[in-house]
Point group: C2
Chain length 118, copies 2
DNA sequence: CATACATTTGAACAAGTGTTCAACTATTTA
DNA sequence: TAAATAGTTGAACACTTGTTCAAATGTATG
């Protein structure tokens, strides 16, 4: 009688629970920002790119060669990853060397692998 | 002279490095599987749904009410999350209670927040 | 300066995605 | 059995996305 599961019709969960739930809601902006990061990792090409960068920094055409894709396609993806601060770059003459921006990205990838591998 | 950065033109990185890089490449299937998980987290609505499930299990129309969206929209998203084993569900009479499938998902979300908040 | 090369960029296209609407299933209750 | 309720589903739509191609930067080198 005390914990009869919330029927849905009029949404009559007890006040306290409603408040707790609403307080725990993620904000619109935060949800968007967070989803943008995950979305960036949510493409096979970008996953492959990031994997090549996990131990080394590499230039655009090295990545393109390794993945068997056009330099243009890789560059487009790198721009996206750059804008989201997922990779950083370093210019040296004609070449541009890309690397992961921070350790979080590496950890996110590793945790993703852990999840899919179990 | 020893570590002259790989010029790109003919991709003449030294053999050892090429081999190491190629060995570290992620496979096609693994990249796809991994990207599917991240893609699932890469939508604001799904992020919000998962956030409501971080501490409680909830039924579809509770989530819909909390987020101010239609039951149908939520149900479609939950199916996707279900198929990817990101959420699990429990049936009780007419109601279906959803919850996060495992701790990894929670950790991924938390780690994502950490990344965007710094 | 002219040439070569690494990378970036914009436009365009096919393919994929999220929401809505209406119809449907399944379960409870009268 | 009939009505009510919780949830699922499929089709349709506008919108977004990833790649390609061609053209444009920027930088070194002859």
């Amino acid at each position: 009688m005390d914990d009869d599961r919330d029927a849905c019709q009029i949404f009559h969960i007890d006040e306290e629970k409603v408040l707790k739930l609403k307080a725990g809601l993620i904000g619109e902006y935060k949800a968007l920002t967070l989803s943008e990061i995950f979305k960036a990792l949510g493409d096979p090409t970008r996953v492959k790119i990031l994997y090549t960068l996990m131990e080394n920094e590499l230039c655009v055409c090295d990545i393109a060669s390794l993945l068997g894709m056009t330099v243009s396609a890789i560059s487009h993806q790198l721009r996206l990853l750059r804008n989201l601060k997922i990779v950083k770059y370093r210019k040296e003459g004609k070449m541009v060397y890309y690397s992961l921006d921070d350790e979080h990205i590496k950890k996110l990838l590793e945790m993703g692998v852990t999840h899919v591998e179990e």
